[in-house]
Amino acid sequence: MDETRFNTPGEQRKIDSIAADILKNVRINRSFILWMGFLSTVLVLCLAAYVIQLREGLGVTGMRDFTSWGMYIANFVFFVATSLVGMLISSVLGLIGYQWVKPISRIAEIIAIAFAAVAGLVIISDMGRPDRLPYVFMYGRVQSPILWDVTVVTTYFVLSLLLWFFPMVPDLAISKSRLEGRPAFLVKAYDILSFRWEHHEVQYRIMKQAIRILLILIIPTAFAIHTVTSWLFAVTPRTGWDSTIFGPYFISGAFVSGTAALIIAIYFFRVNYKLQKYLTDDTFDKIARVLVLVSIVYFYFNLNEFLVPGYKLKTGDAIHLRELFTGHYAPLFWTIQLGGLIIPVILLLFKKMRRPLPMLIISLFVLCGAWLKRYIIVVPPQAHPNLPIQNVPVEWVIYKPTLIEIAVTVASIILVLIIITILSKLFPVIPIWEMAEEENEKDKPFDKQ
């Protein structure tokens, strides 16, 4: 028996048709250039704001002695959270054996790569002296959660990159002969990156071994990355951060925002890349159920996070919770909890809502809510100093992000979009060989009959 896959004419035809569907989007066309041009222009404008910050110092932001972590850190937490979806889809659901995650796992990895990569940059934007970044590595203290964070974010980024790349090697081999009319550098890159892939069983075995190691390895790493991010807050005795459930609270929240981001992405690829055949209504229905599940878990942690201190009402907690429930932050807080968590869960319980377009709208709400939730977690607890202090300037007490901060934050979101665009425009977004394999599996019973 021959040990090379996809070598019968029937299988070749399948590959041809799937590759044609997916590779038609791998091209540098007008819309790609226009879109990248738009992103680059906005990025340059926003980076001008960063240059001002670099020249003038962090005083151009709204951060002062009380609120010394503002929009940048909230954005960082959101980015780390959203990147966790790569692990949820590929590892947790993939290892359980769900087949429906196959067409979306690569998109999930692209989201993970983009958000994890930019998360590191966001931290640098929060530094008054970014030129001192090497000091983290030269003088970093192994006891500091900040060093742990740097370590796990880097590790998670590399693992996500590998989990994106490894299952793509067969696709690159399939695609390299089907790239007529594409730039020569792209064809050359496909050839090099396919590592002499011949679809041989031995190669498949090696690849699957590697992927299995990565899938298992990325679970503790992903848990570590967001647990450590939560520890940046939870290891301080500050009211609002001093919580023992911050780790799981953050992780469950991460699954919510990541799943919402993934739904938005697959809706986009389904419509713009015309991939309705692969990103089916059924895929959306399944991932909607995932979103409901993780949202309910997140709701449970929210209940713990607010009800337990709310019952005891220790002095600091009482001030903090009153600010959130009925005070300055109440409109934002209830908008997030209702519009970004409770109402989406209720809506998604109805089958009519678990279709692509309604899910896109719901996910946009969930994602915006997730971003604002990080802001609510980071900013309000700092507005109340631990020591009673009087007669300080008003801008110390009330944090308001400045235009510069907003511009730099927009720049980071633009960077994420640029990475997603490049990865999804230069490489196939859906695993061709896995789709072909799946069709083979479907055909087998009929062959026997």
Binding site: D2, E3, T4, N7, Y139, G140, R141, V142, Q143, W148, T151, T155, V158, L159, L162, F166, V169, F195, R196, W197, E198, H200, E201, V202, Q203, I206, M207, Q209, A210, I213, L214, L217, P220, T221, Q390, N391, V392, P393
Partner: protein, 318 residues
């Protein structure tokens, strides 16, 4: 009840409004003068004291970088502060007001005058007027001195005040004297205020639990309560009357708060093993790319589809 919060807020604001008024120094204190002339040496010592006690709020004189408080502390080099008389500055530092603490027990009168000396060094037009005679209103023309002795058995410090002029030396009687032990920040009053007896002697009991340095030494200092009457004489000495401080250095042992070289072993091990394990696997996975490449090269070297023999051998090689 509806207006409780606004009313309380207004009440709380009242004192801060009244504080917005000018800081009036009592008339009799305005003209007070330093007992010694300001020299380069007093300026230097004053700068040291300023940096410890004043810099954090008032900033570097002349740089106008005082901390942003309401009301602003102000830069001592500015006209606003320089137009105060020596006595006014001395009084304000001594007494404090609002957010500015009183430095009465932090610095001695001499130290406050040295600080004034430093502040005045930023004023080119300043001409010092020195109090001519080191004197007191109670013993006109006499120089008052304090002497101290420590009686170890009784744990008592005996302070003796004498007024000396050209002809004779007499005990200073019925003068309030206080004894201080120096601590990390400021001075700690030891025992109560005592009045000197007919021999000019006041006895202070050192409490048994008073912490000293590692050798049990305590720096103590005696001064008159009413410096206006008896002069700003102080007497400092070191006595071995405190408990020996046996607390080891906080950074001697491995601890979470220590430098990386003295990190707890469990942290180093958990971090190190975790990172090595994960990156070891990452390296392993990377090497599998090489294996895929090797297999592919071998297959290309043969006629395709590959013979059964070749991949089996390859498989073993892997």
């Amino acid at each position: 009840m509806k207006y409780t919060v606004p009313v309380i807020m207004c009440l709380l604001l009242l004192p801060s409004l009244s504080k917005g008024q000018d800081w009036v120094v009592p008339e009799e204190r305005k003209g007070r003068l330093s007992t010694f002339p300001f020299t380069e040496e007093t300026r230097k010592e004053g700068e040291r004291l300023y940096n410890i006690n004043c810099l954090s709020c008032h900033g570097t004189p002349g740089k106008n970088n005082s901390i942003a408080l309401v009301p602003p502390p102000g830069d001592p080099a500015t006209e606003k502060i320089q137009r105060n008389s020596d006595g006014e500055i001395f009084h304000k530092v001594t007494v404090g007001r609002g957010q500015m603490p009183s430095f009465r027990s932090v610095m001695s009168a001499e130290e406050i005058w040295k600080t004034v000396s430093y502040i005045r060094s930023f004023n080119r037009d300043y001409v010092q007027r020195v109090m001519q005679i080191i004197t007191s209103s109670a013993y006109p023309g006499a120089q008052i001195s304090l002497s101290m002795a420590y009686l170890e058995a009784e744990r008592q410090v005996i302070v003796r005040a004498m007024a000396t002029d050209e002809e004779k030396s007499v005990p200073v009687t019925n003068a309030g004297v206080r004894l201080f032990a120096s601590r990390y920040f400021g001075a700690l009053a030891v025992d109560e205020e005592k009045l000197t007896d007919k021999n000019g002697v006041a006895a202070f009991v050192i409490p048994a639990g008073l912490p000293g340095d590692t050798a049990g030494n305590v720096s103590i200092s005696a001064r008159f309560t009413d410096e206006e009457v008896f002069g700003s004489v102080t007497r400092d000495t070191v006595i071995q009357a405190g408990l020996k401080n046996r607390a080891g250095s906080l950074v001697a042992q491995r601890a979470m708060w220590n430098s990386v070289r003295k990190a707890p072993l469990w942290v180093i091990l958990s971090y190190g093993i975790g990172v090595l394990a994960v990156w070891g696997f990452i390296l392993l996975v990377m090497l599998k790319l090489r294996d895929i490449y090797t297999v592919g090269s071998a297959l290309r070297g043969n006629l395709r589809p590959a013979s059964d023999q070749e991949p089996t051998n390859k498989q073993e090689a892997i």
